[in-house]
């Protein structure tokens, strides 16, 4: 059953342009030039109940604008949104009782006092009964192993600990749908993993998650369904497996050599960029061979001083989808 339906969603903004010369700044005191920006163009998609859906896209693609409209905090210019039978921006007061949200870069915790006080604040705001509050809180703090942390002032917590508390804060009123805007941004590998485990755990208990991210790993580990947005338009909308089919299982290798080479030729490997005779960026196809095989081949061939293995960057994903595979899925 679809819990979210978005049809032909649009959002346009007006903003101003300003020059930088003395005379221009002087002029801008009196007159400014208007510019219209289309942040979201005609986007449609659905999310099923109990699903984890990932909205993927580079910075400034319109992900945040979309999630703001889904949470009812931004009015669409056109199109319709239906979440759990509500039109979010029209029935916000009733709607927001049933949703939770974590904005990776905007803290809901009160900086100078312990998270526990912030939790109590939400208890009052969402009218959570004492019993429910205690039960949910114990469960969540247990799951995250933050029983001691919640009574320390927020400002002394690490980013990872704070994120965990942000999640608890967003889940206390047991929302059916939770929106996550860049939930893992800025976190280290271990903290990222903890957050992802938590999301999976909560999802297993029935909560639907919608997350925006520019990190392919978030989507690969969590989502069953992926929507990719670029320049405000939907460029991909399908199951995760189908995205992986389009992208292939590829990794990006950043390589620093100890002695110069004019080229690197290994089976199943392409040179994506040659920065110099010492520095290469390679794209490795892991469909037929493993990363171990690749490394073995590489060490037989040359000596290197530094190597890093990364996911495909957002730009590559977008290009690949434009190359013809993904758009047909729209």
């Amino acid at each position: 059953m679809d819990i979210i339906t978005v049809e032909n969603l649009n959002k346009t903004y007006e903003t101003y342009r300003r020059g930088s010369k003395f005379s221009e700044t002087f002029k801008s005191f009196f007159k400014r030039e208007k510019v219209i920006i289309e942040a979201v163009k005609d986007i449609s998609f659905t999310v099923e109940e109990g699903e984890i859906a990932g909205i993927l896209g580079p910075n400034g693609a319109g992900k945040s604008t979309t999630i703001k409209m889904l949470t009812g905090t931004l009015f669409p210019t056109g199109g319709t949104i239906n979440v759990m039978g509500y039109t979010p921006h029209k029935e916000r007061a009733a709607y927001v009782h049933n949703i939770g949200a974590v904005f990776g870069q905007k803290s809901q915790l009160i900086w100078d006092i312990p998270p526990m006080d912030s939790f109590n604040m939400n208890k009052a705001i969402y009218s959570i009964s004492d019993r429910d509050f205690k039960y949910t809180l114990d469960k969540l703090t247990g799951l995250f192993e933050v029983e001691d942390i919640v009574s320390k002032p927020t400002r002394v917590l690490s980013l990872g600990e704070r994120m965990k508390c942000e999640f608890i804060m967003a889940m206390l009123h047991k929302p059916e749908v939770v929106f996550l805007d860049e939930p893992t941004i800025g976190l280290d590998v271990i903290a990222k993993q903890r957050i992802r485990t938590f999301i999976k755990e909560m999802n297993a208990q029935g909560t639907t998650f919608i997350l925006t991210t520019h990190d392919l790993e978030d989507v690969e580990q969590l989502a069953r369904k992926v929507v990719i947005i670029n320049h405000g338009q939907k460029v991909f909308d399908d199951k995760l497996q189908n995205l992986q089919l389009v992208l292939g299982s590829k990794k990006i290798i950043h390589l620093m050599l100890t002695s110069p080479r004019t080229d690197i030729k290994i089976e199943g490997t392409e040179v994506a960029e040659k920065k110099s005779d010492y520095e290469y960026i390679l794209e490795v196809n892991l469909a037929n061979s493993s990363i171990n095989t690749f490394i073995r081949n590489l060490t037989n061939m040359c000596e290197f001083s530094d190597i890093s293995i990364k996911e495909l960057p957002m730009e590559k994903i977008i290009t690949r989808i434009y190359e013809g595979h993904g758009v047909s899925a729209v």
Partner: protein, 278 residues
Amino acid sequence: MVGVEIMNYIKNKIQVVKAVSMVTYKEWSAYRTHSMVSIFVGPVYFMVQYFIWKAVYSGNSVLNGMELSQILTYFGVTALIGYLTMDFADWNLQMLVRTGKFLTFALRPVHHRFFALSQKIGHRILGLLFEFLPCLFIFVFIFKVNMIPASPGWTVLSIVLAFLMNFYLNYIIGLTAFWLVQSTSIRRVYQLLLGIFSGGLIPLVFFPVYLQKLLFFLPFQYVSYVPTMVFTGKYSLAGIKMGIPEIVGIQAAAVLLAALASEAVYRASMKRFTGVGA
């Protein structure tokens, strides 16, 4: 040869002032509407003063040696001079120290104080265009206040000195950030004292005589009261009347003292700064 070197030195300094003030001007142009607040606030406060003093003078024609028209000119001129000399070098400096960005200035071949002064020049050019001139027009053409200085030359000189005085004092206050974590409270206390004793609140001749005497030895009156009185052409405080050249001379001496003091505090700060950094 020495002459050429000095010329080059001066040329270089002027280049720095030009570049820095231009950048500051542009930077603050983004906040264009901030300056425009003054165009409203200045005249409104003036109106309040007008009503207050008109009522006060309804029973007296002269108070503490000042007539109503003089008082009104006083408040108009004080406001306008405020736009020309306004400064927050203290705030900038203590932010640089607190955030550790001061280090980047310690590495530049320009004395930070000179840099800050250039910034202030750019900032006040903005003030001249968008605060001073509009308010001047409002005072002259709408409120019909007499805005013709008794002696333009001395007035400009005195305002320039007030500009420097305000800058050096603020700079010294900003330097306290090297010693105090919470220099904000020092700043606020200083701003409070300046507000009262510079003459912005009420002409200093209204204070008890012993306070007026004391004010000769405090830096505050040189920021606002002195240039305003120079504008009107008559200076007196604590019953002492002085010619315009004399009081501007005293003001210049006070500015020199403030400059020396700021250099002394600066050197002590640098010792402390590098001491902490090591």
